[in-house]
């Protein structure tokens, strides 16, 4: 019987290998066919300084377009999945997802304000606008939840309702801005962004997405025992020695930040935060010590796969990735529902 420690090391190694394989698949497959030999040569050139002579366009595509997209997709998938796990545990609701706190709605309003109203006088990019909008919406939701709960964040129902109220408000503002100011072309362009898009990913995005996502996953991993303690409710967690308000505040804030950063980089990609936690539970059970890393890994691999699909399924056209995740996520959710172990 292997010691727990070395088994853990082995499993971690296997997971990292799986992630690396997914990233390489994401780099090798894309809109235009590039032979795998060329892909490996490019990676060898860039990583180990091998001196293969290659077409600079191929090199650019593999290294600057596809690799950055795969890394951003992996970070985003992991971040959203883990956020979903946290919210489902803290809010005791299997339907909770990272956008519950108004973040996606706020990001849309922010992006649309920058695009249509010219807010920020050309200094702000769509992404910055989205991030500011997301944080604004989340702050409103948090204040609303506090006001409704009489100062305590214990009532999960209040948080959910406050999130719904905030989301509806910001969605209404987005619709208002679009109908009032946008031409058909602008509306089309913004729709594409709002549905989730990994097209413009570059190394700057990677430098933001990877550390934020990693930090989020690590912070949540630190709190897996606390998350387990919430199984029987908030008061039960308190009686088990979890400093409830501190943990809720820290984890929800962490979730909000990670989600806001991800949404501002790639738009609203739905279903990942909702379905991946359930899929992971089907694989390894409900104990968060195993659930959190598996959800992160599954989310990363899923989003890389969805991105590849969005580029290859229709020749010459790129589908918005939010559409692909929904088309896969909805039936997957149905399957999980039917076969899931948490049937009462």
């Amino acid at each position: 019987m292997m010691a727990r420690g070395s088994r853990l090391v082995l499993i971690t190694f296997a997971c990292l290998l799986l992630l690396a394989a997914a990233v390489i698949a994401g780099v090798a497959l894309g809109e235009t066919p590039i032979p795998p030999s060329v892909v490996f040569q490019v990676l060898a050139n860039k990583l180990f300084g091998a001196g293969f002579v290659l077409d600079p366009i191929d090199e650019g595509i593999v290294w600057n377009y596809r690799l950055t997209r795969a890394l951003v997709a992996a970070s985003c998938g992991a971040g959203l999945a883990v956020s979903g796990v946290v919210l489902q545990a803290l809010l005791r609701n299997p339907l909770a997802d990272p956008y519950l706190l108004g973040i996606s709605a706020g990001a849309s309003t922010g992006a649309v304000s920058v695009a249509l109203l010219g807010l920020g006088a050309g200094m702000l990019s769509l992404s910055m606008g989205a991030f500011i909008g997301a944080i604004a919406a989340f702050s409103l939701v948090a204040l609303l939840a506090r006001a409704a709960g009489g100062g305590a964040l214990k009532g999960t129902g209040q948080i959910i309702l406050a999130g719904i109220a905030g989301s509806q408000l910001f969605n209404a503002m987005t619709s208002f801005l679009i109908t009032k100011s946008a031409s058909a072309e602008q509306a089309r362009g913004i729709m594409f962004w709002l549905l989730g898009n990994l097209s413009g990913a570059n190394w700057h995005d990677v430098a933001l997405a990877v550390p934020v996502s990693l930090a989020g996953v690590l912070l949540v991993s630190w709190h897996t025992r606390a998350l387990d303690a919430f199984t029987f409710g908030v008061e039960s967690a308190a009686s088990l020695g979890v400093p409830v308000r501190r943990v809720q505040a820290a984890l929800i804030a962490c979730t909000a930040l990670v989600t806001a950063v991800m949404v501002s980089i790639v738009g609203s990609i739905g279903f990942v935060g909702l379905v991946i936690p359930h899929a992971a539970r089907l694989l390894v059970g409900v104990r968060h010590g195993r659930l959190v890393p598996v959800a992160a890994l599954t989310g990363a691999v899923f989003l890389i796969a969805a991105d590849v699909l969005s580029r290859t399924v229709i020749k010459g056209q790129v589908l918005p990735i939010g559409v692909v995740t929904a088309l896969i996520g909805a039936p997957a959710f149905a399957v999980i529902l039917v076969r899931g172990r948490w049937v009462r």
Binding site: T32, I57, W63, Y65, A115, S183, G200, G316, V318
Partner: protein, 363 residues
Amino acid sequence: MAAWRDVFSSLRTAVYAYFVDWEITRMFVSRLAVLAASIGLSTLAAASPTQYPLTLENCGQPLSFAAAPKSAVTIGQAASEILYSLGLGDRLVGTSLWFSNVLPEFEAQNAKVERLADNDPSFESVINKRPGLVAVQFEWMVGKQGVVGTREQFHDLQIPTYIMPSDCDGKDNLVGADGTRLQPFQIDSLYSSVRQLAAIFDVQAEGEQLVGNLQARLDKAVAGAEQRQAKEISAAFWFSSADLDLDPYMAGQKGVADYMMKSLGLRNVVESSEEWPTVGWETLAKANPTVLVLARMDRRRFPADDIEKKLEFLRNDPVAQHMDAVKNGRIVILEADGMQASLRMVTGIETLAKAVDGFDIQR
């Protein structure tokens, strides 16, 4: 006379088109038959006054005029400039949908005409002018899903609407964001627009003269098509992007921009049949067109509308900067209005021909 010229040029184009593109050949040959049949009519009608009541079929709807309309409102810069060119400026009571400044020769006249809107006007502002005709450049302005209104809304108020055939001939505007061409664009539809508007307003002499001029200029510009064809020059038109991070709007097959390329003997690397589809930069980079054409416009709806931003992107993007066209400076800048069915289109073709011939392109 003009009709004979049409026949001759169509014949000549058909002959060389046979070596260029089977589709174009087919189109020209079928057009030939129609033209031959109508030669008698058009020779007679060439410079004669319009016989009223005039009925004509326009984009699937019959229009009937008891007399030349006394006033008109235009929705679309192309329609406005055609009416100015026909000398009908004093009958224009309102214009809208402008992409750039009016052609300099009409500046003084345009200043006297009220501009209802820079973009799409409201339905009420148009009918308020009580025009005898509304001339429209795009079906998505006035049509089944018209932003301003449907044709029925106008016809119910006894206001006829004329949509330029260049936007509805062989095009399904209900599919694809800017419509999808079922048949490749033909320059004839532009000539028809001019001729039909001239007929409606009883200025057919001016109409024939205008068409004649356009024809001559076009023939001169496409003269070198064979040589360019032999050099296998490919091209792509970049109109704009919703965001520089998102996929660009490129000219698709069968549209006006594509016609410009084909008539000059250039191959369009974009394969979609939509008028302005989004194409990923990866696909464009791999296709590596010999020449890149960028749209210059005054509009600033998207950051990429600015020609400087487009050029900056091409210079700095780690993949695009390695494209042949970018590395060797084979970038042509055309006015955005020159990429649509309008009088400026011919200017656009001339500019493009001159630029491409000026590049040092080896086989």
